[in-house]
């Protein structure tokens, strides 16, 4: 039981960034495949700076755009975030300002975009966008249903990443509260040889705490 607890505590803190990134990458890869699109991306809202940040990209811009940020209310992703409503636009090059903004920020100028807000609990935490799907037919209500269902999965992935980063920042930022101490102990226990020292230490600590209670 104690081994399981130790592993659970440690796994909550170690390796989550990579796992969640892989999840988001899988989501954008799948979104792109489902809609036969040239690119798909997930943006996270950085509440501190009020900016949208590329967190995962599939297709055009993959490998270059991660971490690129822009003000949260600008552009079509901003529209989707601000209104918390899905949006489909099919002739973006008709708007020269959009083309210029896109070229300046990403180097890629899409002609068509589908954007869906990513909602977690009661907040809009980001946007999933699918770029340049084939325009041989309009985006149907069934397409929209599929994308929004998919977006709810993406929202969970993004929320996990957001939460793990917050926890990590709290712990690494020298927050010397109980959480920081527990995290360090959990990490040490995970690294230690499993010879029972850690368990004995925890049991001793428990006895001390019970006396204090």
């Amino acid at each position: 039981m104690s081994d399981e607890l130790r592993r659970a505590a440690a796994s909550g803190l170690l390796g989550t960034e990579e796992t969640h990134r892989a999840l988001l990458q899988s989501i954008v890869d799948t979104a792109r495949a489902i809609f036969h699109a040239k690119a798909a991306s997930v943006f996270l809202l950085d509440e501190d700076t009020d900016e949208l940040v590329f967190e995962a990209v599939s297709g055009e811009g993959e490998g270059e755009l991660i971490g690129v940020r822009f003000p949260s209310s600008t552009g079509l992703a901003g529209w989707v975030l601000v209104t918390r409503q899905p949006l489909v636009v099919d002739d973006l090059t008709a708007d020269p300002r959009h083309a210029r903004q896109a070229a300046e920020s990403t180097g890629y100028v899409p002609n068509a975009l589908v954007g869906v807000p990513l909602l977690a609990d009661d907040a809009a935490i980001g946007v999933l966008s699918v770029l340049d799907r084939p325009l041989d037919r309009p985006f149907s209500t069934a397409d929209m249903d599929l994308l929004t269902m998919f977006a709810s999965q993406a929202a969970i992935g993004l929320d996990l990443l957001r939460r793990s980063r917050r926890a990590r920042a709290l712990l690494e930022g020298g927050a010397e509260g109980t959480a920081g101490a527990v995290a360090r102990v959990a990490a040490l226990l995970e690294r230690a040889d499993d010879d029972g020292d850690g368990l004995r230490l925890l049991e001793a600590l428990e006895r001390v705490l019970r006396r204090l209670d």
Binding site: L52, W79, Q85, L87, D95, R97, D122, P138
Partner: protein
Amino acid sequence: MSDLIPAWSLTADAVDSIALPASWPERVTREWAIGASTGAGVDVCILDSGVEASHPLVGGLASSVAVVFDGDEPVVVPDDEGDVCGHGTACAGIVRALAPDCRVHSVRVLGSGATGTGDLILAGLRHAIDQGHRVVNLSLSTTKRKFAELLHELADAAYFRRTVLVASAHNMPVESYPWRFASVISVGSHEESDPLTWYANPDPPVEFFARGIDLDVAWLGGGTMRCTGNSFAAPHIAGLTALVLAKHPDLTPFQLKSVLYLTATNAGGLA
């Protein structure tokens, strides 16, 4: 004295005082409902991201205010920013196309992505109702449960004050408000291209379907863009509502919803 007593019961001698006009036709048709109407004299409020007043498809605004935070308090101030993202302009253009002579008012409640919208939506909606606007288009919603009760009270207040709230159904599998309330008219999208095709849904909470797919909407900077979204279905019903109210200004929201039902495409509205 009678004004001081809430009308929660009806005394025998008061029955005559509430006689209702009996001018309903035997069959409510579209011709009766909106024929030759241009929406003249009806105030339509776009509660949204602001409106680009100079856009040719908007055709000017009767008023424009923004709801912003003054500390923690939302306050209504004159709007000098216009539309922050283009959403409100798109909605206003749709209303104007259907009801060219209505008066369009803008109340900006959407701002940056990081700003909580619930408080601003509440304050903006309260302002719109206080102004006596007959129609308020809400192509927006909040997922925040804590705002649901207050929004519900406001929606009911609007209902009894003859302000028709038209709200877009959220296209996503989340609980959001106010479109789910029975006191508002909720709208989703159908896949047809006629702005005067609307369907009554026998299986609510979405009550009507209107055009929301693959349509040209007003875009920031004076142009248009081909877009899809439930956001654009709601202003079609808002525009239709303005047409009905211009001809039949005494209708209550209950009656108005009945007229939209009776004249819906799937209720033989075109017959």
